[in-house]
Amino acid sequence: MSFESEMSKGSFVIPQCSTCQKWVWPPTDYCNACFGKISLKKGDFQGRVIEFSRQNDDYFCMVEIENSFRIMAKMSDKPKIDQIVKISKCGIEDGNYYFEIN
């Protein structure tokens, strides 16, 4: 199981260092703090909208996941700053990750 194979199946997992327990983002094979090996943590993760803008009908948001790291994600409804969200869809298309939140 790798981060990208999970993403390809639409499953969002968080890489965590098996040694120091730090969440490691972006996904890599080793922890960027202690170089420990990474394992993947499944869960029902929460995010918080930090900032957003809109292109055409879609909002794109800066989202902080579990008060730890940030991703940019698409949202169809107008977000609010500090709104709590969850990743509703994710995947890899043409080598690029994509995330949708609601």
């Binding site: 983002w25 972006p26 930090i50 900032e51 957003f52 803008s53 809109r54 292109q55 794109f60 800066m62 790291f69 940030r70 991703i71 940019m72 994600a73 698409k74 700053i81 298309e93 080598g95 690029n96 990750y97 994509y98 995330f99």
Partner: protein
């Protein structure tokens, strides 16, 4: 450590021309050598090429094209900040005694692959620079209560100033209304808020203290160098309404030069998008937090050219690998009083701000007569 000065420069017009990268490098270098006959090309012992182009071995190619065999020749890529990173490398070679005369040549094509950082998957499908610029703009407006019209003044000022620069891509002036009515890119960005990726080249010669007087009567000294990398990924910026890397690099460079920010008479700042200019002015310390747009407005209304006299990236265009070198050439020309109809009155000290990927990294140079 040896002192290092700028001795000569050459530049091409910035355009949308479809030219080979090798031709663009050659063109600005030829311009430099033809305009500086005191420089004996065989005395150039290092050639550094700044570009994001995917062509290989460009520094040896440029060296062969101009008929020299330098000791050191290699390329440097660091996205939009490649140009000043190359100048810092040239500075380091000379200061360390490994070189005496370094040619730094930057070039880019309008279709540069350096516009998109493919690695940064944290941005999801939003990898184009317009998305980080929109997040910066939204955050800056929200934090400081700034309007789109206030930000549009950056574009108005820099397009206006570019009309005094024959190499600039912009050939028109615009009003705030024009900027507001230009094509909407996102809710927070209009087309005229954006710099254009373009084709262009810029070259510069740096030399050591013991050589410089032989090749120029007007050396411009690099007295301060500051650099800072926060991250590679945009989402790791601590703030989206301030430029932390720029602030740290600026403090480092000013400290090294034994200068205060009020000593700076003229500056080039990296206005890739309208919001970047006030954010840079604040990070450098020229304006208080949230008051960068007020400074921009005052400069425009008083016809004070001290910030981005050549028109900035918005007015000149943004050939990534050449931009930092072109900025440095502008400050050199200003300090030499050779900036013609865009000359700032009697400047003694200037500053260059060049950054990459939403200010995840920045370089600051302090230049002096």
């Amino acid at each position: 450590m040896k002192r290092v000065a700028i001795a000569a420069y050459g530049i091409t017009p910035f355009s949308k021309d479809d030219k080979k990268i090798e031709s663009i490098l050659f063109e600005s270098t030829k311009n430099l050598l033809e305009n500086n006959p005191k420089i004996e090309k065989n005395e150039i012992d290092t050639v550094l090429v700044s570009t994001n182009n995917n062509s290989k071995y460009l520094s040896p190619i440029l060296s062969e094209s101009i008929g020299i065999q330098p000791k050191i020749a290699h390329s440097i890529e660091n996205l939009c900040n490649s140009g000043t990173n190359s100048i810092v490398s040239a500075y380091s070679y000379i200061a360390a005694g490994l070189a005496d005369i370094v040619l730094v040549s930057g070039a880019e094509r309008y279709d540069s692959p350096g516009q998109i950082l493919e690695w940064d998957n944290s941005r999801g499908e939003f990898k184009h620079p317009i998305f980080w610029a929109s997040i910066f703009t939204s955050s800056y407006k929200r934090k400081f209560g700034i309007s789109d019209e206030e930000l549009a003044m950056v574009s108005v000022k820099n397009h206006s100033q570019a009309q005094n620069n024959p190499n600039a891509i912009s050939k028109k002036t615009y009003s705030v209304e024009d900027v507001m009515n230009s094509k909407k890119i996102t809710d927070d960005l209009k087309l005229l808020d954006c710099s254009q990726s373009c084709t262009g080249g810029a070259s510069i010669i740096l030399a050591s203290e013991n050589i410089i007087k032989k090749i120029t009567d007007q050396p411009i000294w690099i007295s301060g160098v500051g650099q800072k990398t926060i991250s590679a990924g945009f989402t790791k910026n601590n703030s989206f309404n301030s430029m932390e890397s720029t602030k740290i690099a600026s403090q480092t460079a000013l400290h090294m030069a034994h200068k205060e920010i009020h000593d700076i008479d003229v500056a080039e700042v990296h206005d890739a998008f309208s919001v970047c200019e006030p954010m840079a002015l604040e990070a450098i310390g020229m304006a208080n937090h949230g008051e960068g747009t007020k400074m921009v407005k005052e400069l425009y209304e008083t016809k004070n050219l001290m910030i981005n006299p050549r028109g900035g990236l918005i007015g000149c265009g943004h050939p990534l690998g050449a931009t930092g070198i072109a900025q440095t050439i502008e400050i050199t020309q200003q300090l030499q009083s050779r900036a013609r109809n865009r000359q700032v009155e009697n400047p003694n000290t200037g500053l260059v701000h060049n950054m990459s990927a939403a200010a995840t990294s920045s370089t600051i140079l302090v230049l002096e007569k």
